[in-house]
């Protein structure tokens, strides 16, 4: 399935909902979207991965890149991810220790991600 991106504003946060396959083919589009948000001044981003069907290392690389970039400008970056196959990918790569991972968008916002 193709990549689907939708963003909405919730208080101070921008929630980017990602759906479909985030892979070597589509990850560049995710990167552009995240950079556009950051360059446009957004400082608190929550990326909702609940509708992601497939995520590979290129997609993970884009997420890490966005997190670092936001950190450099005193922003916050949180990921919403509760599905076991996806969580497994974060564990295997040790990225569960790098990203703040939340069970839901509400939890991410409440934690001030």
């Amino acid at each position: 399935m193709e990549l689907a991106l939708t963003s909405r504003t919730v208080g101070e946060h921008t929630v980017l909902e990602v759906g479909g396959e985030v892979d070597v083919y589509t990850a560049p589009r995710l990167r552009e979207e995240l950079l556009a948000l950051i360059d446009g001044g957004t400082r608190r981003i929550v990326v909702d991965l609940q509708r992601v069907d497939f995520l590979d290392s290129t997609g993970l690389g884009v997420l890490v890149g966005a997190m670092k970039k936001l950190r450099g400008v005193d922003g916050t970056f949180g990921l919403v991810c509760a599905k076991e196959p996806l969580l497994k990918i974060f564990r295997i790569t040790a990225l569960d220790q790098v990203f703040p991972l939340y069970e839901s968008v509400d939890a991410a916002i409440a934690a001030g991600a």
Binding site: V24, D56, S57, T58, G61, V64, K68, I89, T93, A94
Partner: protein
């Protein structure tokens, strides 16, 4: 013996085709459903890695995926990049992953390798027998239905 071989120009879009083929052949060979996600991700990682190497070295050669659907189900992904590049793989610890000085490319390569190594129990990475290049060999036990 390779039963199915897929060769493709080093473009990201074809990695999707390779994943599709890797999973379809595995399913028909009777690989357990729970392992199909592993195959999808591992074949994708190995092919994305090969495509990235070909692009990095300006190689127009095709990436080659050969599948044996006998026991064990085996997928080999061959790139044609210099072996130093192909073998220079390692998983990164968390503190390095988050390190500012790590380039996005290096991070993706490290994460890709961590996924391959973490998912595939039977994984081998070695220089190809003939010519220049690296072979990533992955296999899974078939419990035929």
């Amino acid at each position: 013996m390779a039963d199915v071989r897929l060769c493709f120009s080093p473009a990201p879009v074809h990695v999707r085709t390779a994943r599709l083929v890797g999973v379809a052949v595995a399913r028909r060979a009777g690989l357990r459903e729970e392992l199909l996600d592993e195959v999808r991700l591992a074949v994708g990682e190995a092919c994305a890695r090969a495509v990235a190497l070909h692009r990095q070295y300006g190689l127009r050669d095709q990436v080659e995926v050969t599948i044996s659907d006998d026991e064990p189900y085996t997928v080999r992904v061959v790139d044609r990049a210099p072996v130093e590049a192909g073998l220079g793989l390692s998983a990164l610890p968390p503190d390095e992953l988050a390190d500012e000085s790590l380039t996005d490319e290096a991070l993706t390569v490290g994460v890709g390798f961590a996924l391959l190594a973490g998912l595939v129990e039977d994984l081998q990475v070695r220089p190809v027998a003939e010519g220049i290049g690296t072979e990533v060999r992955m296999s899974w036990p078939l419990h035929r239905r």
